[in-house]
């Protein structure tokens, strides 16, 4: 296949963004009433729903219970209509199992599991429309759902992808088209305030000279997304808090 230029000579990408621009992020928290926390997130055309249940008593076999911390259980699934071709996607297939595992890895790093011994926290994410960066959108949506559920986390977990165009320009937040046109692809899930990396994955090899540049690009993307999510959380907390009259007790300012 003839390689398309991922970035034009004017510095614009296939969808009109610049190299360091994210896709538009729109999100909403508290979309369901049944789970403890839920969120809906759009990152460009990638649309994801997340629901969090727990912490609750261990379901299934009691032997899974951990005596000193909570068990984090993730489930990733894609809707039949989420991609270009309609396809039944059974829940337990290899790809979604791998995604679930990666999600768990990222969230175990951030959730303060030691606060809830012998309990279980369930995170369910469903991709409604897949347009690249599915894992990132899932992590970001699940973070919002966890905040909505009031589950203590050391900080937000935020994920972002990055790629390399024309051999030297790092691209942030890669879309499906850019993913498929063959460049190497780096996914980072980070805790942006402390700068820790919870998960990093590469689809292909990068040249060692390029790697630091691409990683820094992805981390910058994470920091930008963190800003956006934090604003959304504040807006949501403000809205629901003022409707509640700030709950049962009066707050004290420091």
């Amino acid at each position: 296949m003839a390689r398309m230029d991922l970035i034009s000579f004017k510095g614009l990408r296939l969808d009109g963004r610049r190299a360091n621009e994210l896709r538009q992020i729109r999100c909403k928290m508290g979309v369901f009433s049944q789970p403890d926390g839920s969120a809906y997130l759009e990152q460009g055309n990638t649309k994801v729903l997340a629901a969090v249940y727990g912490p609750h008593e261990i379901r299934g076999s009691r032997s899974k219970a951990l005596h000193d911390k909570a068990l984090v259980n993730c489930q990733y699934s894609m809707a039949t209509f989420s991609t270009g071709e309609r396809k039944r996607r059974p829940r337990g297939d290899r790809k979604s199992q791998e995604m679930s595992m990666h999600l768990r890895q990222a969230f175990q790093a951030a959730i303060r599991v030691e606060v809830y011994p012998r309990s279980q926290i369930d995170i369910f994410v469903e991709v409604l429309q897949a347009d690249g960066g599915n894992y990132c959108a899932c992590v970001n949506a699940a973070t919002l759902a966890l905040v909505d559920a009031g589950i203590p986390m050391t900080e937000y977990v935020v994920a972002c992808t990055a790629s390399l165009a024309n051999g030297d320009v790092p691209l942030v937040d890669v879309s499906n088209l850019e993913e498929n046109s063959g460049g190497p692809n780096l996914t980072v899930a980070a805790l942006p305030l402390s700068g820790q990396v919870a998960l990093m994955e590469m689809s292909q090899r990068f040249h060692l000279d390029h790697l630091p540049k691409v990683v820094e690009c992805a981390l910058q993307g994470c920091r930008d997304i963190h800003q956006i999510l934090d604003q959304a959380v504040r807006r949501h907390t403000e809205m629901s808090g003022s409707a509640l009259g700030w709950g049962n007790r009066a707050q004290v300012d420091l």
């Binding site: 403890d36 609750h56 011994p117 009031g150 050391t154 900080e155 907390t237 003022s242 007790r249």
Partner: protein, 297 residues
Amino acid sequence: MTQNVHIRLASQRIDNTIVGTSEVPRLYTPGEIITCRSGFMRGHGTYMEEDALTASVAGVVEQVNKLISVRPIKNRYNGEIGDVVVGRITEVQQKRWKVDTNSRLDSVLLLSSVNLPGGELRRRGTEDEQMMRKYLQEGDLISAEVQKIYDDGSLSLYTRSLKYGKLCQGVLVKVFPSLVKRRKTHFHNLPCGASMILGNNGFIWICPTVSEDEENGLGGFTENLLEVVPRTDREVIARLRNCILALANCKMMLCDTSILYAFEESQKYEVLELLRPEPMLDVCVLTQQRLYMQEDE
């Protein structure tokens, strides 16, 4: 058969947020540093990182002397001694029942902390242990009070009062626990002809009113499924349920006054109509206005 089906586009959904008048306090989000000064103790929703007290949930700060905690707007039920809860039996074990009370671990109801038929001072033998499933089965609903909180955070319940016991013939509504206002009493005989238990854990039980003398006769475990609840009573219960759901949908605090106001304001709608978003919002707005008016007086 004709059915009234309402399907609407996402863009036509109405915004059900009610704007309160209170000013917004300082909000903290996970990872945000609350204070770097030493001499404070970390409470719930906070952690220490490199000598800085940091928030781990999104919410408002509460300070009691030197203890600083962050209270999230919404979380699972955190039990406190003396709380009234409504729960569902999930398991029958030896000498105890496990009860789902919407908290992070299942609560425990010991055989020794229930009233068995036949007097308070009865000894509990192995016979009683074998009879446990006769009293309370998996799936039964009970009302109880929190007696003790164990080290791991699970709750011990008791029903040794005639107020508490098994629940039958009524409706259970589940809301987020933070929506239930803490009050002196959580048992209400509403003037509209129904009784209500506002569980602190967000489980609300609505049932037809039982007369006083009848109530005293109940030993806590009797189940009367043969009695038919008249249609008018059931309509009142259904209307109350829909009102509570409407208030919960708009994230308004639930107490006997707000529910009663909502019930009165909803009279212009059919019970069925209260499930649609516009009447729900309308009822909530009117209820909030009345609550503000009452506050001003």
